[in-house]
């Protein structure tokens, strides 16, 4: 007996829309089994994981802080993935954006003017974009595989950041802890509602970016170009679109948004640059992009869900004593179930039993 995937003639619209929710429900169920196997009460653990972080206002602010970089990066990645450019290096572009944007307050701390912050944000975007331009140019010029080059550049960025904050950029008054000086007031991204919590303007940037990119993808020729070149490059060439320019465009947009996320994180949430800048936002954003079905508006919702897994992980670690590695397992489960649900929307499973008449004879396969 073998299992075949048979393409469905028509995809159910209902289940296409429901798919992310079904995937999430399955993740919760699998999570409950996982917790039970770890000897925890599934009900309480799930409560601390998914409900408790939503019950208090300050904690909703934390949710926005975690969601902001995820959404910003994933929105950029949606442009990449829709055009079939597999940028896996958003983590590196995020870090480089943070580094380049931090140059002003770290190297020129005496510059205290109102334009420092806008300039930092622009520099962060430029840094991320230029770092993303490396794998893009390698792909256009030498036809290298961007999955490998962009991924490897993540490690370069991580180690470079580590060296910077332990070496040349280390705060002399920092008791030898790795990290730069604390940013002065003109270099800090302010909170949206300082009265109720820490959430900074990075979350607003994320929402604006999602709206703008959604509009460009859905309604303009540029978005059409992204989709055509992503789905059938040869038809794109026939249309007169340049695939090389599209590679650069997609990488620059996603690099710039990742860079913006990086500098927003540094100047908004952390307020100085240290070696723990990212908790894997660049990689988690890949899950966010697919969970949001590569639609920037869906990505906003998906970003909030994945941000919750980070918060819930911390909460469950504190209250139930769960390992923080469970967060990664959870994120992996979500991606797995999303992809599985999508596959079953496009295909149905058929079990094929060998012919009764043929069963008697020896196998010729």
């Amino acid at each position: 007996m073998r299992i075949e995937l048979v393409k469905r003639p028509q995809q159910s619209r209902l289940f296409s829309a429901l798919s992310p929710f079904i995937a999430f429900a399955l993740t919760i169920a699998a999570g409950a089994i996982l917790f039970a196997a770890l000897g925890k009460n599934p009900a309480t653990t799930l409560y601390y994981y998914f409900i408790d972080p939503l019950t208090e206002l300050w904690s909703l602010h934390e949710l926005a802080i975690k969601a902001a970089p995820l959404i910003l990066i994933a929105v950029g990645l949606s442009v990449c993935f829709l055009s079939s450019n597999w940028n896996i290096g958003a983590e590196g572009q995020f870090i480089v954006g943070g580094i380049v944007g931090s140059m002003l307050p770290v190297l020129f701390p005496e510059m205290k003017f109102w334009f420092v912050l806008p300039l930092m944000l622009l520099m962060g975007m430029a840094g991320g974009a230029l770092y993303a331009a490396i794998p893009a140019m390698l792909k256009v010029r030498f036809n290298t595989n961007e999955i490998l080059t962009s991924l490897m550049l993540v490690y370069v960025a991580q180690l470079f950041l580590d060296w910077l904050v332990r070496g040349p950029w280390r705060n002399p008054a920092g008791m030898n802890f790795p990290g730069t000086v604390r940013f002065h007031e003109y270099a800090v991204l302010p909170e949206i509602l300082p009265a109720s919590g820490r959430a900074h303007w990075g979350f607003v940037f994320a929402l604006v970016a999602a709206l703008v990119v959604w509009f460009v993808l859905a309604r303009t020729l540029k978005g059409f170009q992204v989709k055509v070149l992503g789905q059938s490059p040869r038809a794109g060439r026939f249309a007169g679109f340049s695939s090389g320019r599209m590679v650069m465009f997609a990488f620059l947009v996603s690099g710039a948004l990742a860079g913006l996320a990086g500098i927003s994180e540094v100047s908004g949430a952390v307020r100085h640059l240290n070696e723990k800048l990212s908790i894997g936002y660049g990689f988690t954003a890949i899950i966010v992009a697919f969970l949001g079905r590569l639609n920037p508006l869906g990505i906003v919702a998906a970003g909030l869900v994945l941000a919750l897994t980070y918060l819930g992980g911390e909460a469950a670690q504190i209250s139930v004593g769960l390992s923080d590695k469970v967060v990664r397992a959870f994120q992996g489960l979500i991606l797995f179930f999303v992809l599985a649900c999508d596959t079953l929307i496009h295909y149905r499973i058929r079990l094929v039993r060998p012919h009764a008449a043929a069963a008697g004879e020896a196998s010729h396969v």
Binding site: T220, L221, Q231, A235, H355, A357, H364
Partner: protein, 542 residues
């Protein structure tokens, strides 16, 4: 077991009620067929009639939903191609499965189940090729061989298994008329030896000439068993199509001086990959009101030529290609379209249209520049209602049958999608239209409509260039026919002077100069390519 009427012997193969269902579609619906020993049996049908599905079930690559297959009188379930070969069924596919970087003998070795030395294989292959009149060098690299020679490898590979039944899927679709004649001799020799052949084709003349019996399929069902020798080509076509087959009407081209709309002056192109064909010094001149056909066996540079003319690949010098007098060699496809040119590539899905996009989006695909003023607003905003309206207009004009209001391109049948793609370009009333394989895989009704539309466009004052492997089609639509062979283009022959034999010789690589000399046209490749050279003769065609 039932018996063949003629001989009373047990038939080699008998099929009863064979059915295969794909989702909603009954690709094969209760097919009955009997093949006797030493019989060449034709399986006739249009594209999509279910021929390939049927054959795949016989060869074990598809499992039937229901129905029985009897082999030498006993019921069998054919589970895999290896099992089919073991029973004695061999198959020569339409699309070859050969490794181009290996030699002929190595390719044959790969398909055999047992361990045999390469020398032994080469020897056997040599013997078989001699015995059946299939000249072949076993040590030649497949990449260097012509399509006809590659087919010989497939046939020899099949014969080495000593099959009793050989299935040939559209074997002549890639051959010149002369190569096809050689193939028929081989097949007749095999019949004399008592081997049976299932011959799949939609070319009626060769079926009449070669086959003892025929089974005609339409929409997955058997519509007739007949003796093709007692039928006419027209009656066979009626059975296949289910209605009278219309041929396009070609009124005479207008006489007098007409402007050149497309000129190609010494186009050469280096091969893009290890197995692609270089273009060698191509000249042609196409004037308003004319249809020029380019014949040629597949893979002789037609695709490379189309890419160069369309601007998907740019030329080194601007002067090589002229559209309406403008030198466009360095201009991209959008720029060439803006000058009034339109292009239809061979591959519909993935080249001429994006499969997962709606028809309206596919309309935008080739016309976002030429119709920017109507289709796009400020900042590149797409005006969806306007485009949807234009798509509806094309659908109505070309009679495109579809299941939904604005379906994805991939959900249309090949013929309907091709009608849409051609209609998309005709809707612009292009001055120059370049079409590669306009009716490949398209049913007869749609093909007739497309051909008529191309002729009408030319007679309305445009220049039309039709690249096709289908000689009948070229004779139907063209005012003159040129032949592409190994990246070279022969001088065009006015259709009144062209015969299938003459075109066939050129397709096989006969010297273009000699072939056209007989007709009194001294144009040749090494001669001077003045402006008088080209399609100027077609004015004489009436």
């Amino acid at each position: 077991m039932s018996e063949t009427r003629e001989t009373g012997a047990v038939p080699l193969l008998e099929v009863r009620g064979l059915t295969k269902v794909f989702g909603q579609l009954r690709a094969c619906d209760g097919i009955d067929l009997t093949i006797g020993k030493g019989e060449i049996h034709a399986l006739l049908g249009e594209n999509g009639a279910g021929k390939s599905t049927f054959v795949k079930m016989l060869f074990g690559s598809l499992e039937p939903a229901s129905g029985d297959i009897f082999w030498n009188g006993s019921r069998v379930a054919i589970r895999s191609p290896a099992h089919a070969r073991k029973l004695g069924i061999g198959m020569v596919f339409q699309h070859f499965s050969l490794f181009e970087a290996l030699t002929a003998a190595e390719n044959i070795l790969l398909s055999l189940d047992d361990d045999t030395s390469i020398v032994e294989i080469a020897g056997k292959a040599h013997d078989v090729s001699k015995a059946y009149g299939l000249p072949l060098d076993p040590y030649a690299l497949v990449g260097d061989l012509s399509v006809g020679e590659r087919q010989r490898i497939e046939i020899i590979r099949c014969l080495l298994q000593e099959p009793q039944l050989i299935i040939l899927d559209e074997p002549t679709s890639v051959l010149t008329p002369q190569e096809a004649d050689k193939l028929f001799e081989t097949l007749e020799r095999l019949r004399e030896e008592g081997k049976s052949i299932l011959y799949i084709s939609h070319r009626l003349e060769e079926v009449k000439r070669l086959c003892d019996r025929a089974t005609v399929l339409r929409h997955g069902k058997v519509v007739a068993h007949c003796d093709p020798r007692k039928e006419t080509a027209a009656s066979l076509a009626r059975m296949m199509v289910g209605s009278e087959v219309v041929t396009a009407e070609r009124p005479p081209a207008a006489a007098g001086e007409r402007a050149e709309l497309l000129g190609i002056c010494g186009l050469s192109r280096k091969p893009a990959g290890p197995f692609s064909i270089p273009l060698r010094n191509i000249w042609l001149s196409l004037k308003a009101g004319e249809v020029l056909g380019i014949a040629g066996v597949a893979g002789n540079g037609q695709g490379e030529f189309f890419e160069a003319v369309s601007g998907e690949v740019l030329q080194d010098s601007a002067d090589v290609i002229r559209i309406r007098g403008a030198a466009v060699g360095r201009l991209d496809i959008s720029g060439r379209r803006l000058l009034g040119a339109a292009f239809v590539p061979e591959e519909r899905l993935g080249h001429g249209a994006a499969p997962r996009m709606k028809l309206s989006e596919n309309l935008l695909l080739s016309r976002f520049r030429t119709d920017a003023a109507t289709f796009l607003g400020r900042l590149g905003l797409i005006r969806t209602p306007v485009i949807a309206g234009a798509a509806q207009r094309i659908v109505a004009e070309m009679d495109v049958r579809k299941s939904a209001d604005d379906p994805e391109a991939a959900s249309l049948s090949g013929g309907n999608l091709q009608k849409f793609i051609i209609g998309r370009e005709l809707d612009r009333k292009p001055a120059v239209m370049v079409v590669n394989q306009p009716t490949w895989g398209v049913d007869a009704g749609a093909a007739a409509r497309i051909r008529q539309a191309l002729i009408d466009l030319a007679r309305a004052g445009s220049a039309v260039l039709v690249i096709s492997q289908d000689l009948d089609e070229l004779f139907e639509v063209s005012d003159a026919i040129a032949v592409m062979h190994d990246g070279q283009l022969s001088a065009p022959i006015p259709v009144a002077e062209a015969t299938p034999e003459r075109i066939g010789l050129l397709m096989g690589g006969a010297d273009a100069a000699n072939a056209s000399h007989g007709a009194g046209h001294g144009a040749s490749h090494d001669g001077s390519h003045g402006s008088g050279h080209g399609l100027g003769h077609s004015g004489e065609v009436a």
